[in-house]
């Protein structure tokens, strides 16, 4: 049996990069607090929702708190519902949402849906567009 080399699908935002680099959980907690305030201020902003979701996934890596993953899932659902075609935030939000869908896929259909979402993110952001 071999476990533990599953692809790393986590995506991070600039807000949590420094916390990752330093390995400082307090820094990440502060970043989460800032992002949470952003969601409270802009509850329908897909980027704010997805950024907080990604930070909570990163927090899970630090602390393995399953409750954070449940909240992250709800945030990604809201982000996906809020994103609109043509929105300049489309690609980064789709990439975060797609990565979450891939990470949590339990069926082939869910895995294919994750691929579809991420193909959109790549197509939107293609340098040849």
């Amino acid at each position: 049996m071999t476990v533990g080399h599953r692809p790393l699908l986590r995506q991070v935002t600039d807000h949590v990069v420094q916390a990752q680099v330093s390995g400082d959980p307090e820094l990440l907690q502060r970043a989460v607090a800032v992002l949470r305030a952003g969601v409270q201020a802009r509850p329908r902003d897909p980027a704010a929702l997805a950024d907080l979701g990604a930070a909570l996934v990163t927090w899970y890596v630090f602390a393995a708190a399953a409750g954070d993953l449940a909240e992250a899932g709800a945030l990604f659902d809201r982000a996906r519902a809020a994103v609109r075609r043509g929105d300049p935030q489309l690609a980064p939000v789709l990439s975060l949402v797609g990565s979450w869908l891939a990470l949590t896929a339990e069926t082939a259909a869910q895995a294919r849906e994750a691929v579809r979402v991420l193909r959109r993110a790549v197509a939107v952001n293609s340098p040849t567009r």
Binding site: T2, Q20, S95, A108, A114, L118, S126
Partner: protein, 157 residues
């Protein structure tokens, strides 16, 4: 996020979908896309390059498991070593990188009977379990350590 970042995330998702479908062409696409993401990244600018290397390494390991081409295993080991070299010891995914490296080296030692690979595999797998006892990733990494060939099982405290 850069375009290579989107491509790397897509590669990982395609790899994940392959695990459900078993379609070889999906695995080849994941490898090609992940390799492109690594090659298109600027090592000076893209802080996610180690993650892209990890995604490539994982896809190559998967293809080695399926097809048995030692070149895939060699490239997977090279990529994950580069990812580790670029990471600080405290970064959040370092333990997963060490676990992947240990798994890959153990596989190669089985293929080639290379004792040095086995020693390096045990070292990497021991590093991978240096996590708090209640950390969710510790159990799978301990499993990798436990199943490493010729590795006496000692659970670090």
């Amino acid at each position: 996020m850069s375009w290579p970042g989107y491509a790397s995330a897509l590669a990982a998702a395609i790899h994940g979908a392959y695990l459900f479908t078993g379609k070889r062409r999906m695995l080849d696409e994941a490898v090609d896309l992940a390799r492109w993401a690594v090659q298109a990244s600027d090592p000076e600018q893209d802080h996610d390059l180690p993650r892209h290397r990890m995604n490539l390494s994982s896809a190559l390991l998967e293809r080695f498991d399926r097809a048995g081409e030692i070149a895939d295993l060699d490239e997977a080991i090279t990529e994950v070593r580069l990812a580790i070299a670029a990471r600080g010891p405290h970064q959040t995914d370092t333990h997963s990188l060490q676990s992947t490296l240990g798994h890959a080296l153990a596989r190669r030692s089985t293929e080639t009977a290379n004792g040095e690979d086995l020693d390096d595999a045990v070292t990497a797998l021991r590093l991978s379990v240096e996590l708090p006892p209640d950390h969710g990733d510790r159990a799978p990494h301990l499993t990798n350590l436990a199943v490493c060939p010729a590795q006496p099982v000692r659970v670090p405290r």
